[in-house]
């Protein structure tokens, strides 16, 4: 950063030129999560992590919502650490309109607790007053969902169905006691007839679209609200239909929470000698997964694991991350693990209905598994999880892997370099393929 600008007696406004190339997270063209990570790593390798940074979106022509969630998490963490970050807004109007319509500035403010105008470069602040012209709300049903031309600040519905939603403790609408209502109420929104019709029209295959609300939305949010210390949850989604995006044609749903990492939560449970398997699985649930693990930019090693395998107490973080998707894995385990399926032979050991009830209570750990089954097997989509020092991508294995390796799922785990700080919270991205519509 050029410090001479700050040596004069009169304070000079920050601008793009105030930042050297090494002090920028430069994003160009079509930006996905990996592109943001690459820019972040380059910045971190070029100097002290705490130095002021410019997140430069000037030349961005398209930005994925998962990348935006990633940016929000990263900037929020930098704020926590007292590191200054500024943002250079995109030169392309359609991108600025996208950010406005998806309410990215609000989302960033909610996560960082800083006014957006403080983060945005002063020379770009005038963009906040410009009219949005890309989304008119005319056209097909999807266009209507993306922008409601009748919307008013007193409306009870969202202007853009897919826009960033932030649920925070202390919200006037959501109290701590109502945190658990978030999955239900958001599931209700996704179950409405217009959204259901749009899903039916655009999603590939003939499968039960109602499971998007019931399983994907509900379980992803249900998981997020239960992460320890999560006092902010953000949800955002988007139908990507653009030819110039790297998204291909997908529906993406992102859920980010600022709570404790899934990996750390499971690690704590393992360290407490409680174990994380709530019960031993029946054989049919023993799907095999091919896991390719690599360090960032490095070669990968391949492992084959089964969902029914015992998770050792010295399991690596990568192992724990993939195990979080297994059925019956949870940080809130039963105090004793029955030797077989937990409900087997209950009648011989319990003489009253109440005893049966006690035994049957609290067999958690199926939420993320149910989500994975629906997203991957039912809709042929994929899951991405960013947590701790890793990211994970998983999808159904294609024919070659299925035949050669006898695996049902294919998973890639990447470990970030040590200079990257532990990711704040957990980011879950569900990607579902869309059909071609003439």
């Amino acid at each position: 950063m050029n410090l001479q600008n700050f040596a004069t007696s009169e304070p000079q406004l920050l601008s793009r030129t105030s930042f050297l190339s090494a002090d920028r997270l430069s994003l160009e063209g079509s930006v996905m999560t990996d592109d943001f990570d690459a820019a972040l790593i380059k910045f971190l390798r070029n100097g002290d992590a705490s130095r002021p940074a410019l997140l430069d979106m000037t030349n961005v022509s398209y930005v994925d919502i998962a990348a935006l969630s990633n940016m929000i998490a990263t900037l929020s963490q930098r704020c926590d650490l007292g590191c200054t970050t500024h943002l250079a807004y995109p030169a392309e109007k359609s991108v600025r309109d996208f950010l406005a319509t998806w309410r990215f500035p609000d989302a960033l403010t909610r996560a960082t607790l800083r006014p957006f105008e403080e983060i945005l470069l002063p020379e770009d602040c005038h963009y906040m007053a410009e009219d949005q012209t890309t989304y008119s709300g005319t056209g097909d049903g999807l266009s209507k969902l993306e922008f409601d031309a009748d919307w008013h600040p007193t409306s009870l519905t969202r202007r853009n169905f897919f826009e960033f939603l932030s649920f925070a403790d202390g919200d006037s609408k959501i109290s701590p006691t109502q945190h658990s209502s978030i999955p239900r109420e958001e599931g209700r929104s996704w179950a409405r007839p217009l959204v259901s019709q749009i899903l039916k029209k655009h999603l590939k295959g003939e499968k039960s679209r109602s499971d998007i609300a019931r399983v994907i939305i509900y379980e992803s949010l249900s998981n997020a609200v239960r992460h320890p210390k999560a006092n902010l949850i953000q949800v955002v989604s988007r139908f990507s239909r653009s030819a110039k995006s790297k998204d291909k044609k997908t529906l993406r749903i992102c859920v980010w929470d600022n709570g404790e990492s899934i990996i750390k939560t499971l690690r704590n449970a393992l360290d407490n000698e409680a174990g994380i398997r709530s019960f031993i699985l029946p054989q049919y649930m023993g799907e095999r997964i091919r896991v390719d693990i690599s360090k960032w930019g490095g070669k990968s090693k391949t492992y084959h694991i089964s969902q029914t395998e015992e998770i050792p107490s010295d399991a690596t973080d990568a192992r724990l991350l993939v195990a979080s998707l297994f059925p019956g894995v949870t940080s809130t385990r039963l105090s004793e693990v029955p030797p077989v399926d937990p409900f087997d032979g209950l009648s011989s050991t319990c003489s009253t209905g109440e005893e049966v009830g006690l035994k049957l209570e609290k067999a958690p750990g199926m939420g993320l598994y149910a989500l994975m089954r629906t997203a991957l097997d039912q809709f042929q989509g994929s899951l991405f999880i960013r947590s701790g020092m890793h990211n994970l991508k998983i999808r159904v294995a294609h024919d070659a892997y299925r035949v050669v390796d006898s695996v049902r799922y294919k998973c890639k785990i990447t470990e970030y370099p040590p200079e990257v700080p532990t990711f704040k919270g957990n980011l879950l991205v569900i990607k579902l393929p869309l059909r071609e519509i003439p």
């Binding site: 209507k144 209502s181 019709q197 039960s208 019931r214 032979g345 209950l346 049957l360 199926m366």
Partner: protein
């Protein structure tokens, strides 16, 4: 055949009596699927509640509750004759979490293994996905159940059936006959829509497209009726000619209807655009010009002035407008009206015309205009309260409803029964809005005295709720007994242990009560019911009433005011001061 009807109510705190039509439906479905022609016995009395906390944190409780009910089958009944119908259809599909259904599967598996019950009919609003964890588990029941026999029908309300049994691969079918059975129980969409079309009071000021400012006292809002509107729209559309190719609409104040129209347009793959956009955007207008005709849809028609204005402008833009328009609400008392011979208007519901006012008294009083789309105020405006009062009049407080432990009866109170008949939809809607602003617990229910007006209020309130609310009504005579003993409930609970209200309270745990009454004079009814809650180890989260005659925090005799109060109108005339002259 012996049936157990396990009617699952998600999001409810306690049990409620089952409806005879639900039992009859289960009997018919069982007969149809299992080919039974003889007598069916079914002694089910109550529903099975799963509260929201259980649905998220204790999913296995569904399995244990189902198993517990099945264990009530008389052991003398042969195993092959026992059938369990697990009915989820009174819940929205999205709320049936996969882990919850897996817990149900676990309960069924236990029941099969220990020979409690081997025949199941599971009824859901929609069919869960084939590759999902639940259907996968049903597909592996043979492997899990060992050598035990079983038969499980998974049925959706739209007629889909999957049959899993010990001696064959899963069988899929579509049974149209079942669709008709379910539709009979689900109720008439038009009746449901009528109940959700709320007439609001306020000061509604609107500028017409011609620039005229008009004030109205009534406005209508349709809430939570997307499905009903879509059904009725599709029904209406089915009678239109094939020459219809697009829709233009003005539905800015009726989001529910707009969603229904857009859903229908998407299904039909036809254009649907706002009238405003079409008139401002030549390209858009041009896209609608052609051989096909365009249907006009609006939210309300009264004089027809606005509709005719739109008609003339759209014709100038080149659109061929169909001679039948649709509106959600047709004022003037008739569902179909003819406007100046040009266009007929069909309404989904009919309502009275607005009163034509030369002069608006509310403008004269400088009352600010109220919103068309949302409730601005948590309480009733004084203007609206006295308007209602003028309509319904006064009456003496019924003697049987006067609390035993303090104060005299009111010589005159508003005729609340009439007020609820005339304005109950809006009063309940306002109360629902007011309650929603509080920290409403996930697991809550209504506790109230069993009195005509109070009961009518809770019935109306339930119409506003997304999921059914458990309402516990305690007879006034029992509350009187408690008040005469200083609100000691222990003996009374024993004395009335087989009563419905006591059964309901026993069925609940970790639930918060909203104590609901029509008016409050002395806090005494609320205090009595709070004492009851303590006795049954449930908790109090709020007190709500239509009118609070005792809103002041000052109390005589050192009594503490009831905290967490909601009232729609306050009027200081506490019961304990009655008789002071």
């Amino acid at each position: 055949m012996h049936l157990k009807s396990l009617i699952i109510k998600m999001g409810t705190a306690g049990i409620s009596p089952v409806k005879s039509e639900e039992i009859a439906l289960h009997d018919q479905v069982a007969k149809y699927l299992m080919g039974h022609s003889g007598i069916i016995k079914n002694d089910t009395q109550y529903t099975i509640p799963i509260n929201y906390n259980e649905a998220v944190h204790e999913v296995s409780v569904l399995g244990s509750k189902v198993l517990s009910q099945l264990r009530k089958f008389n052991r003398s009944i042969p195993l092959y004759d026992r059938v369990a119908v697990v009915d989820f259809t009174s819940n929205p599909f999205f709320i049936l979490r996969e882990p919850l259904l897996l817990a149900l599967a676990n309960g069924m598996l236990e029941s099969i293994k220990d020979s409690t019950c081997q025949n199941f009919i599971l009824v859901t609003p929609k069919m869960p996905g084939d590759e999902g964890a639940f259907v996968e588990k049903l597909g592996h029941m043979t492997q899990l159940a060992g050598a035990m026999k079983y038969s499980i029908y998974l049925v959706s309300a739209n007629g889909g059936v999957k049959h899993f049994s010990h001696n064959q691969e899963p069988v899929l079918s579509k049974e149209d006959a079942l669709i008709e059975l379910f539709q009979e129980v689900q109720g008439d969409p038009l009746q449901k829509l009528e109940a959700k079309c709320v007439r609001r009071l306020g000061h509604f000021r609107k500028t017409s497209v011609q620039g005229n400012v008009k004030c109205r006292q009534f406005s209508y809002i349709m809430h939570d009726c997307n499905e009903e509107l879509l059904h009725l729209l599709e029904q209406w559309w089915s009678e239109l000619p094939d020459s219809i190719g697009a829709i233009v609409y003005d539905l800015g104040n009726n989001h529910e209807f707009k969603e229904a129209v857009l859903t229908h347009a998407s299904k039909k793959e036809i254009l649907a655009e706002r009238i405003d956009d079409v008139l401002k955007n030549e390209d858009l207008a041009h896209s609608m010009v052609g051989d096909k005709r365009v249907v006009l849809i609006v939210d309300v028609v009264d004089s027809g002035e606005t509709l005719q204005y739109y008609l003339s402008k759209l014709k100038v833009a080149g659109l061929k407008i169909h001679d039948k328009a649709l509106t959600a609400i047709n004022k003037g008392g008739h569902k179909t009206t003819l406007l100046a011979g040009q266009i007929s208007v069909d309404g989904l519901v009919a309502r009275d015309s607005d009163v034509v006012m030369d002069w608006c008294p509310q403008c004269g009083l400088d009352l600010v205009p109220t919103s068309e789309i949302a409730e601005d105020f948590l309480m009733l405006r004084t203007y609206d309260f006295f308007f209602m009062l003028e309509k319904v009049g006064w009456e003496a407080e019924p003697v049987t409803e006067i609390p035993q432990n303090g104060g005299e009866g009111y010589e005159r109170v508003p005729n609340f029964t009439k007020m609820l008949e005339e304005f109950g939809d809006w009063i309940a809607f306002k109360l629902y809005n007011a309650i929603s602003t509080r920290n409403v617990p996930d697991n809550w229910f209504v506790l109230q005295p069993e009195e005509a007006a109070s009961s009518a209020l809770s019935v109306r309130l339930n119409e506003c709720m997304p999921e059914e609310l458990t309402v516990v009504r305690v007879p006034r005579s029992v509350i009187d007994e408690a008040q005469l003993t200083g609100n000691v409930w222990s003996d009374l609970l024993v004395k009335h242990q087989s009563s419905e209200w006591a059964n309901q309270l026993r069925s609940m745990s970790n639930a918060g009560a909203l104590v609901l009454d029509i008016f409050n004079g002395s806090d005494s009814t609320c205090r009595s019911l709070k004492a009851l809650l303590i006795q049954v180890e449930l908790w109090f989260f709020s007190y709500a009433c239509l009118v609070d005659f005792n809103p002041s925090i000052e109390r005589q005799h050192g009594s503490e005011p009831v905290s967490n109060r909601i009232s729609l109108h306050d009027w200081h005339c506490p019961r304990e001061f009655r008789g002071c002259s």
